[in-house]
Amino acid sequence: MRINWYRFSSPQTFYPLAGRLAPWFLGVAGLLAVVGLYISFFVAPTDFQQGEAYRIIFVHVPAAWMSMFIYLVMAGWSAVGLALNARLSFMMAQALAPTGAMFTFLALVTGSLWGKPMWGTWWVWDARLTSELILLFLYIGHMALQSAMEDTRRADRAGAMFALVSAINVPIIYFSVKWWNTLHQGASISLTKAPAMAHAMLLGMLVMALAFWAYTIGVALMRVRCVIKDREREAEWIDEAREIDEASEVEQ
């Protein structure tokens, strides 16, 4: 079966689809999170060096992955939006930004919680922590830029432009911070030389990453529905969609 992707690039057809898909993704996210947390708390062995405190990486590492990945996806949607002039792509980018910022913040908080027992301090100007912090600044900048403009068309395009420019800059920032870090701190504690991870640990981390992934998609779909509703409030079809929504709520 061939799916006509262009059909779903219209907010009107995508709105109900997003509404149908979002609960599934959120359900899968919940299930995977339960499984992942079970593995990370009960199956994964205690680390002989770090004790029980290492278990925070089951949240920290997937959150850090997601924070970077979401920025790339955002930049991707922005590029699609600018290239094809598709409104829905900009809306997706807008819907992803808060989730990405949330994961970046989560990665920072869990990182500092982990750092306290491991490094003896809440904050180390480690290359990865620092670039994560800068990523948070970029997310906030992106959201601030979008919300500062009343004209949605300009807000979309300017936000997309910034997402692209900063996404190109992210690797440059990462390597410059890394270089700066080695210059100033000498050999700091790094996880890259940690002994090979037990399979259960890796599995827990992967399941949690998949859970975060599903959560991100589900939440982005929910949020894009809000964005569509907000922007298309003048359109006639939105009233019909509301009636359908209310009807399905009554059924349940």
Partner: protein
């Protein structure tokens, strides 16, 4: 009029505008001096300490004053409609933007390059470190104008543009800060600043090639 003729006229016009409104340039320079002078008052005037924080302080102050002057880059031309004429002019907008960025650098970056060694003396930097400082700023300040132009174009005519441009542009300035201050720190520590300076020059090349495109695209978004 040929393309080069138009661009030359534009450059001369922008520089003349700066020369006739010197107070803007002087104010930015004074901000630089005041910001730098605050640090010894805040952290104490111990010579060894000052020497170790000096490169970073001077570079951060340069970053901030370059950012403050970004408002002048397109705003005046935008409000009186000149910018729309420039977009319609029979020359590529990328080149127009590049010329405007260059003029902006002459007015805001170049004075910093010349003034910074003098302020470096206040931080007990050696003569050779002062040379490295000036050279790193010479490579770095054009980059600040180039990256800043993207932010200035994106926030053109937006309410609260001043704060917004800071949030957008300062994170993107970080590599410039790291390599610029890194070169001077390396030199002050008796190491070769060449690595950092080469990376800074590489970033400058990247910026010269790509930033005018991005800024021109951002201007089109702002003007449509």
């Amino acid at each position: 009029m040929s393309t080069t003729g138009i661009l030359r006229t534009l450059l001369w016009r922008d520089i003349q505008l700066v020369l006739r409104r010197q107070s803007d340039v002087v104010a930015t320079l004074f901000f630089f001096i005041v910001a730098v002078s605050l640090f010894p008052l805040g952290v104490g005037a111990e010579p060894a300490l000052l020497r170790s924080i000096g490169p970073g302080v001077l570079w951060v102050a340069a970053l901030l004053s370059a950012m403050l002057s970004l408002g002048r880059l397109f705003a005046a031309d935008f409000s009186d409609g000149t910018l729309e004429q420039l977009v319609l002019a029979p020359v590529p907008l990328t080149l127009v933007v590049a010329v405007k960025i260059f003029a902006h650098w002459v007015a805001s970056g170049l004075p910093l390059v010349m003034l910074a060694p003098l302020l470096g003396l206040q931080f007990n930097l050696e003569v050779q470190d002062l040379g490295v400082l000036a050279f790193s700023l010479l490579l770095g300040t054009p980059l600040l104008s180039l990256i800043g132009a993207i932010g200035a174009a994106l926030t053109l005519g937006v309410r609260g543009a001043g704060v917004l441009v800071a949030i957008l542009v300062l994170p993107l300035y970080i590599p410039v800060l790291i390599f610029g201050a890194g070169a001077v720190t390396a030199s002050a520590a008796g190491m070769s600043p060449q690595g950092a300076l080469s990376l800074l020059a590489a970033l400058l090349v990247l910026g010269v090639v790509f930033a005018p495109y991005a800024a021109a695209a951002a201007l089109r978004i702002a003007l449509e």
